[in-house]
């Protein structure tokens, strides 16, 4: 009981001193509120932006997981190919975490239309399944996407088509090399153009039907890749490892999106480092704001502490009073900051920042995302709150100890 009473006196004294100098407290509160709100918002913005970039990259073409013959992803040659056996296909069909998967053939070749010849990346897909694996069909700006009955019909990136001088309905010639080393050549009809926003695809990607590519490139049943789209990106590692356990990993490579797009992962890591540095600066601003306030408040009350110590208050109690004072300010600040930060974040979740004006500048990084939404996570809010409180207490220890160590006789006489 004694302890409780003592504690309540300490808390009361601390609470009173919080409001003794209202203007200073309000200013400090503002620092804490704005600081923590900004940290929460910036983190939410980074999280949301990164998830969006991954989602865009995955859904445009890459998928969450790909299976190839070992070495394909580094060399991208048509001759890195494998035969997808029944067992593997059944494994993928039966996994409930997989939304869909599609077999692909990849090649490099020349496309020619009248006097113009342009190098292109050729990707053969199964039109019936591709719509569930990627959303390239939603980026068609002219004509249509491939369907199951197509043979020599192809879809081109809009920039590629412009460079070739061809429109939907137009004919082009393809020359490349077959899987057996022979010359692969075909006359093709362009049926649609896409604008994915990814400059690499728009400039150089041609999509053709899988069955036709099997013949054109003399694939003899071999394929270059299986692209898998999962029901949630969170399953990526688990499904990847699950597949790895069932295939010969000496012959095949099973890669998650992070392995498929290391440059995107690198960008995110770099961006995160930048954000951490900024977070650190903000935390320091908040911490020193609190330190400053408490320091001043202790300095102004030297006589008061002197009297308290003189009438028998223990130094530990004085320390506690000062620390609680700072804790009260930070708790109020953090709660308000959480509300403000979450509010701003939520606004940008509903109204993503539109960077499409800067699409060309962003494209330099190989990023096709132009709408950046914020995404709040509990982790972000919890970590920010506790770090702010922790720092506030940590930075108050020094002035608090100073108050406790005062010599009462000298302190009472202090002006």
């Amino acid at each position: 009981m004694m302890m409780n009473k003592e504690l309540s006196i300490v808390l009361l004294l601390a609470w009173r001193s919080v409001w003794k100098n209202k203007r200073r407290t309000v200013l400090t509160l503002l620092t804490v509120v704005i600081g923590s709100a900004m940290i929460i918002f910036l983190n939410a913005f980074a999280t949301g932006g990164h998830e969006q970039m991954i989602e865009d990259a995955v859904s445009t073409n890459t998928g969450h997981i790909q299976i190839h013959e070992k070495g394909f992803w580094d060399n991208r040659g048509t001759d890195y190919a494998f035969q997808a056996d029944e067992g593997l296909l059944k494994l993928l069909e039966s996994d409930s975490r997989i939304k869909s998967f599609s077999r692909r053939i990849h090649a490099a070749g020349l496309l020619s239309c009248r006097d113009t010849t342009v190098g292109a990346m050729i990707q053969a897909v199964d039109p019936a399944r591709e719509n569930e694996v990627t959303d390239l069909h939603r980026h068609i700006i002219e004509g249509r996407f491939l369907d199951e009955n197509d043979t020599t019909s192809v879809v081109l990136g809009a920039v590629l088509a412009r460079n070739l001088g061809v429109k939907p309905g137009g004919k082009i010639a393809l020359i490349s090399q077959g899987f057996d080393g022979s010359i692969a050549a075909e006359k093709l009809t362009v049926v649609g153009l896409f604008n994915s926003g990814n400059p690499e695809y728009d400039q150089s990607l041609m999509i053709m039907p899988f069955a036709q590519a099997q013949q054109t490139f003399t694939m003899m049943g071999y394929i270059n890749a299986i692209t898998i789209h999962l029901k949630s990106p969170a399953y990526t590692d688990a499904v990847r490892d699950h597949i790895r356990r069932h295939v010969d990993t000496g012959a095949l490579e099973v890669m998650g999106w992070d392995g498929l797009m290391p440059e995107l992962v690198q960008f995110i890591v770099m961006d995160d480092i930048g954000a951490y540095i900024f977070d650190f600066i903000l935390f320091m601003v908040v911490a020193f704001g609190i330190l400053n306030t408490i320091q001043m408040s202790v300095f102004e009350r030297i006589r008061e502490f002197g009297v308290m110590l003189a009438i028998g208050t223990r130094p530990g109690q004085v320390t506690a009073i000062v620390i609680f004072e700072s804790l009260f300010i930070s708790i109020i600040g953090v709660v308000l900051g959480m509300a403000l930060g979450s509010g701003i974040s939520y606004y940008f979740t509903l109204n993503p920042l539109d960077y499409s004006q800067f699409a060309d500048e962003i494209a330099v990084w190989g990023i096709a995302t132009t709408l950046f939404p914020a995404k709040l996570t509990w982790l972000n809010i919890t970590v920010t709150s506790f770090l702010t409180l922790g720092l506030a207490v940590l930075f108050t220890v020094f002035p608090a100890r100073r108050a406790a160590k005062l010599n009462p006789i000298e302190a009472i006489r202090h002006l």
Binding site: D79, L110, I175, G181, S182, I183
Partner: protein, 252 residues
């Protein structure tokens, strides 16, 4: 260029009035002799090109007409059946490929001259020879080096500023005895070696001794290479103009 060459010749003549055999060759003369020997002013030949990749090995036969002085060349794949009839023509610095399956010719733009020819380790330029190591590069003799027991001149070729070539540097090893090439190393603009061509099978073809086997390998891709073997060749023969015509390219 001619002035410079003349100057070089004059200087050499003045400084070394001894017999020609003793006269030191300039780097340009070494390359000039090598090219003259290997390509002549014109050449007509049959080649076997074997491409080995990690998955397959296949051999094609190629007939080729090369007119070095006018920078025209024409070649046609004659075997295997599947690829026979594909023809390649270089005129006016432009390469054309005729694809019999499409019954259509495709223009290969100059920017694609450095791309792989038919999936081999040779580039389009290596086959149709648009660029000239004599005129598009400046030659500098670095020294002598022994390549597989053969004493060679080591000549460095740096592209001229206005030359439309992709290599940043070529190191050309030519035998001291007769200036025939033994080895060529191709570097990119960052001075990293990308390809190596080893020449061997020196024997008399038509009226001269030349290397008949050229093995091209891409650095870092040890599981593949391309070998071009000269089966038959005749030098400095008159080649009628119609050979280098689009009609000849597209003939049925």
């Amino acid at each position: 260029m001619n002035l410079r060459k003349a100057a070089v010749v004059c200087m050499t003549a003045l400084l070394l009035p001894a017999g020609e055999g003793l006269m030191a060759l300039t780097a340009r003369e070494i390359i000039d002799r090598a090219e003259n020997a290997v390509r002549g002013n014109s050449a007509m030949g049959t080649y076997a090109i074997t491409i080995k990749t990690r998955r397959w090995t296949r051999t094609m036969e190629l007939k080729s007409w090369d007119h070095r002085s006018t920078k025209r060349s024409f070649s046609e794949i004659t075997a295997p059946k599947k690829d026979a009839g594909n023809r390649f023509l270089l005129v006016n610095k432009t390469m054309h490929q005729y694809v019999p399956k499409l019954q259509q010719e495709i223009k290969i733009s100059p920017s694609m001259m450095m791309q792989s020819w038919m999936g081999s380790d040779f580039t389009n330029d290596d086959i149709v020879k648009e660029s000239s190591i004599l005129d598009d590069y400046t030659q500098r003799l670095i020294g002598n080096k022994s390549i597989d027991g053969t004493e060679c001149y080591e000549v460095e070729l740096i592209p001229k500023k206005d030359a439309d070539v992709v290599w940043g540097k070529i190191i050309y090893y030519a035998r001291i005895t007769d200036c025939l090439p033994v080895r060529q190393e191709f570097y990119n603009e960052h001075n990293v070696m990308k390809k190596v061509m080893a020449l061997s099978g020196f024997k008399t073809m038509h009226d001269r001794v030349i290397p008949t086997i050229m093995k091209m390998q891409t650095v870092g891709k040890d599981d593949r290479y391309t070998v071009m073997e000269i089966k038959e060749i005749r030098f400095n023969v008159a080649i009628p103009d119609y050979i280098f015509s689009l009609q000849n390219l597209k003939r049925k």
